[in-house]
Every structure is written in C-alpha cells, then in structure tokens.
C-alpha cells in the first residue's frame, strides 16, 4: 500500500482541509494536563500527539446522557426524538479506542440491534494516529498494536518530522483528495515498547479467571476501592446504562433519559425488596474484571478490555486492573505448578 508524508508544520493545514467539507472530532487540551475529543473548529487547537483522552470516542455513539423518549403527560403519549446520523470524521483515534468501537458495535448489533447507536455510528470515518505507550497503556497485551489500522480510513504514524500517512480505504482517499501529500517509502520507525503487560494471552486468561472466583484479591481490592464507578465510566467498552424520568416543572411533559451507569455502583443490582445481587464491593470488582476478560470473551474469544489504561489512570484509589489480573495469573500458575 502506498504511503505518504505529512510534515508537522502542515498538520493544521490538513485539519483545515478536512474541516472544509466535514464535521471533524479530534483531541483537544482539557484542563491542566488532560485531553478530550471535541468538535474541531480551530485547526491549531487539535492535538494529535497525546497519551489518552478522558473519554473515548464512545461518547459520540453512546452519549453520556441521551433522551430516549419525549412524553406528553396530558395526552399519555410518547415519541422518539430523531437521532442525527454521525456522518463525521474522527481524527486522531488510537488503535485501542477503535478496537473498543468494534466491541461496542458487537454489543449493539447482536441480539436486538439498537437504532440510536447505529444511527450515530452511521457515516463515521476514522483517521487513526499512533501513540507512544505511557505507564498505563497495555494494549499490546490484548493484541492491539499502536500501529494497528483496522477500521481506519487513514492512519498517521508518528515520525520525527511529522506523520507517515496510510490510506487503506476509498473513504480515506476521498478525505485526502485535494490535499497534496508527498509519497513516502521509508519504513515506519520502530514501535515504542509497552511498560505495562498482562502476562498471558486471552486464551489462557479464561482459564485463569475460571480458577480465580474466590481469590483473595477481590476482597483486598475492595478495602481500597471507593465504589465510585469511575473505572466503569471512563472505560471505552463499558456500555451499561441507567434510565430515568425527568418531568418538567409544569408536570405536563418530560423525557425518559438514559445515562451511563456502572457495575461498580452499589445500586446497580438492587431489586424490589431492597435485595442487592452484587452488594459486596469485592463481588462488583470481580464482575468488572470478568466483564473485561471472561464473560463476553468466553463467547467471542476476544478480551473486552482494550488496554487503554483509563480505569487505572483515573482511579483515585490507584487500583490497577493490570496488577489484579497479573496477580491472578501468578497465583493460578503457582497453584498449577504445585499440582504438577
């Protein structure tokens, strides 16, 4: 496949080129040292070289809050608000976030396909970028290379002087059309190494998890865990939601709204009669980790964690999912070695 080159000095021009005929979402600075995807309007404000964003691009397909129904209480009638098709270019997406989008696609198309998600997902084009793993990334361990361009219409690989450009799809060529890119035939610079690793592949992990249901790590983690749900909410593959009714002040109309929810939250499994099905924080921690490495993975063969490191980076209690998993691996291997 042909490769091109985009000098660092022309990145803003390239963003401007994209903006001329597309809606573009891209990473921007947020707060004192964070980044977030936002609608681009000033090409100079777009940041391509960043460690990770607060939320992933998930928020565009499954918004943090979304009206499912508008209802009229005087007529006892409800209607579905229109969902605008996405039709946007997502610039600067890391490979693990795109892998997460594919996992969400699976969740929202299997069983009952969901119109809201699929409509927003419609017309999305992705321009990936490579990244240098920091102390939280471990995507390599779940099989997602920083240079992986699956699902991308264009891919930018970091180079000392700019970006090496791949254009794997026709959509990508359309995006590039009219913007002059020099051909480039040198090999890509070698990948930077990950500093975080899960020690075994998913195939073995299923077994490890199987053996770890009653492992002490769940209780130990629960001592420090605040049950705040942050780890769920920042995760690009978490998709659970809560549904709430809002009634306007005149009590004549309102909305049924859904918002992101998380299995670490105490009320998540509460049912009538005040019974909780996963009341203990330890059980919730196990559920969270099993959701990432066992339950859906047993069916699909894929880890449902994409190694972005967000849950660990964002946890105020400094609980690391990698450490939890590696501890399970170590202990299950030790148990096996005792047995054999």
């Amino acid at each position: 496949m042909a490769q091109y080159f985009l000098e660092q000095a022309r990145v803003a021009d390239f963003v401007a080129h994209l903006l001329a005929s597309n809606t573009v979402y891209a990473p921007h600075r947020k707060g004192s040292r964070s980044y977030a995807f936002a609608k681009a309007d000033d090409p100079a404000a777009v940041v391509l070289d960043y460690p990770r964003t607060l939320s992933s691009v998930k928020k565009f397909f499954l918004p943090p809050r979304e009206v499912l129904l508008n209802f009229d209480l005087t007529l006892d009638a409800a209607s579905v608000p229109p969902v605008e098709p996405g039709n946007a270019v997502f610039l600067g997406v890391h490979s693990y976030d795109l892998a997460a989008v594919r996992r969400l696609d699976f969740n929202f198309t299997t069983g009952n396909p969901e119109r809201n998600y699929l409509a927003r997902r419609d017309g999305a084009r992705f321009i990936g970028v490579s990244y240098v793993p920091d102390k939280f990334h471990f995507a390599g361990s779940v099989g997602i290379d920083p240079y992986d361009m699956t699902g991308c219409d264009m891919f930018l690989t970091k180079h000392a002087d700019g970006w090496i450009v791949d254009i794997p799809t026709g959509e990508g060529s359309e995006l590039a059309a009219g913007f002059k890119l020099e051909a480039h035939d040198e090999p890509k610079p070698p990948r930077a190494h990950f500093t975080q690793h899960v020690f075994v592949p998913q195939a073995r992990l299923g077994k490890v998890m199987e053996a770890s249901y009653d492992h002490p790590v769940w209780n130990e983690t629960a001592d420090a865990c605040l049950g705040c749900g942050t780890c769920n909410l920042v995760c690009p593959t978490c998709y659970c939601f809560n549904v709430q009714e809002n009634v306007d002040i005149a009590c004549t109309s309102g909305q049924r709204e859904r918002s992101w929810d998380g299995c670490m939250l105490r009320g998540f499994t509460e049912v009538a009669g005040g019974e909780f099905f996963r009341e203990k924080v330890a059980a919730r921690q196990r559920h969270r980790v099993y959701r990432k490495f066992k339950y859906i993975s047993d069916v699909t063969g894929q880890p449902w964690c994409v190694g972005c490191g967000r849950c660990t980076a964002s946890c105020t209690a400094k609980i690391s999912i990698v450490e939890i998993v590696n501890r399970l691996i170590r202990d299950s291997e030790r148990d096996e070695s005792i047995l054999t």
Partner: protein
C-alpha cells in the same frame, strides 16, 4: 384536584436554600401555579394551620427549634428537608465536635448563659423526614425533581452514587490531576458535579453516599499529601453529625 398547600420554614442556617428557591426566576410562576404557598416568613406575612408539604431549611440548635419542628411535623403531611443543614446538620454540626460549654465560652465569654444552645441536629434526628433536597445551597435541580414528584404523587428516589459519576459524565478533568484533593468519591451525586465542573474540588456538601468507604477515602486523602487530621477535617466539614463517634 386541590392544589397542595405548601409552607416553608427555616431553622439554623444561612437561608441560602430559601434564597435559591427565590432564584428559580424562570420557574417561579410555574411553581406558584401548581401549589398554594400558605406560609413563608422570609417572603410573606401569612400563617397557616395545616399544610400538605412543608419545606424546612436549617439545622436544629436550640430547645425552641425542637418544639417548632414537632409542631410543623404535626401540621404537615409531607416534610421535606431542604439543604445540607436540615439534612445532615451542615457546617453547623462542626461545633458538636468541641465540648459545647467551650464553644459558648469562646464566643460569648461570661455572657454565654444568655443564649441557650444544643448540639446542631439534622431534622431527621428529631422527626420523620420524608424527602431530602441535599446540597449547600440546596441543589436546585433536585428541588425540582422532588417538587415534580410530589405534585405527581410519586416517590422520590434519592441518588446513591458518588459525585465522580456525574463528573465523568461531564468529562471533567479530575481535580486530583490539578493537585487538589476532592471528596467526590464518597459524596452523594445529584448536583451534576457542579463544583468540579467549575474546576473547584467537591467539598462534600451533599453528604456521604449510603455506604462510603471512609477508610479508603482517608487513605486517598493522606496519600495526596494531607495529614490524617486534616483529611478527617475535610470529611467532617459537612458530615460532622453523621461521623460522630467515627474515628479517622
């Protein structure tokens, strides 16, 4: 259906919650259209004998307060605690941490016996409270949710999540990243993480979640450079009453 008769009362507090009620400029007329306000000392002269809903602001801190709150409970069908002082005792309750005689002597010296006082109590310590509108000042959106629930005759389900949840929905940069400490992880959501949306740390005004991991929180605070007693003081700012007898 007759309009619900509403009364509004205040005890020990800053009256910021009542002011926040007046600050519903856009909705005030809608609110007035749905209820009859029959008593509200801060805004009107009228008095009434019975009400369907009483909104009560402030903590209880004198023997007279206790008498009045019993009286209000007898006259009302539903009692709503308005704001941190009424719900949890609010900042008033910090004084409970010091021996009461010492506090009075500090403030009034030899004249202390002119002014009777009790430890600051939330309303629920003395009477049954049906619903809480938390926050300092009360969270306006929660007031509207409680209000519409009451008008529609449904129960109001209090959120039992950490402020972190809303903070993440709003995609804020965590204030710990800015070198500040924050009580969001153990504080009850419902304010749409108002403070952290504005770059300030959560001071915990909405009270603790139902089962806070205080030991864990204390560790988080100390690991971010606060001394243990300082960390505990931050937790007590709005939770002095609830944490009575709990040690750091």
């Amino acid at each position: 259906m007759a309009k619900p008769r509403v009364a509004i009362f205040d005890f020990t507090g800053c009256e910021g919650c009542e002011l926040s009620q007046l600050n519903f400029e856009d909705q005030l007329l809608d609110i007035l259209a749905q209820v009859d306000i029959v008593e509200w000392r801060e805004a009107m002269d009228d008095k009434a004998d019975e009400y369907d809903i009483a909104f009560v602001e402030g903590a209880l801190s004198t023997p007279d307060c206790i008498k009045r709150i019993h009286d209000i409970r007898r006259r009302t069908k539903v009692l709503v605690a308005l704001g941190a002082c009424a719900v949890d005792g609010g900042v008033n309750a910090i004084k409970n941490l010091h021996p009461i005689e010492e506090v009075r002597a500090t403030v009034y010296g030899q004249d202390q016996y002119l002014f009777p006082t009790l430890p600051a109590l939330p309303l629920s310590a003395v009477v049954k409270v049906d619903y809480n509108v938390r926050g300092c000042p009360m969270t306006q959106a929660e007031f509207l949710r409680v209000f519409t629930s009451l008008v529609m005759g449904k129960q109001f389900e209090e959120p039992d999540l950490a402020v972190c949840v809303e903070c993440k929905l709003n995609e804020n940069e965590c204030v710990y990243e800015r070198g500040m400490i924050c009580l969001g992880p153990v504080t009850r959501a419902g304010c749409n993480s108002h403070c952290t949306n504005f770059g300030q740390y959560c001071i915990g005004c909405r009270g603790l979640v139902s089962e806070p991991n205080l030991k864990g929180m204390n560790e988080v605070l100390t690991s971010h450079g606060l001394a243990v007693d300082e960390a505990w003081k931050r937790l007590q700012l709005y939770n002095a009453y609830r944490l009575q007898g709990v040690r750091a």
